[in-house]
Symmetry: C2
Subunit: 85 residues, 2 copies
Amino acid sequence: MSVMRYRAVVDVLLKRSILDPQGRAVEATLRRLGNDNVSDVRVGKRIELVLEGERAEVERQVREIAEKVLSNPVMEDVEVSLEEA
Amino acid sequence: MSVMRYRAVVDVLLKRSILDPQGRAVEATLRRLGNDNVSDVRVGKRIELVLEGERAEVERQVREIAEKVLSNPVMEDVEVSLEEA
């Protein structure tokens, strides 16, 4: 149970069933610029943070932060990854 | 040279040397909520897109899109990854 530093990455994207206006705007721009092979553009957030602690506890904590603070579970999906910093 | 569908992920974050006010605000909030083991919070964008084409050409194209359209190279770092969709 050693205390370590971990780098967590939290990716937050709108659920697939919800219209993503920012993604649509980027897609329209890319196509206007000639990228007509581009589709399904989605724009979300990437949050990086460093946490100190014991791995299992840090995993639990960052998942709670991701679901309760950094995302809106009604509209957004969230993915968490963790590595030693 | 087969035509395939690829899913690209473009992560855009402010360069380390540039103050990230949104990250600072999130960090202050997390600490106020009792997460005093959290530091170095950074907030960026994650853009997902699907491209059709031949792999080498799609790689070149998505890198150009990432650097010229989706990020500001003066202030931001960008990372690209690609996988078969």
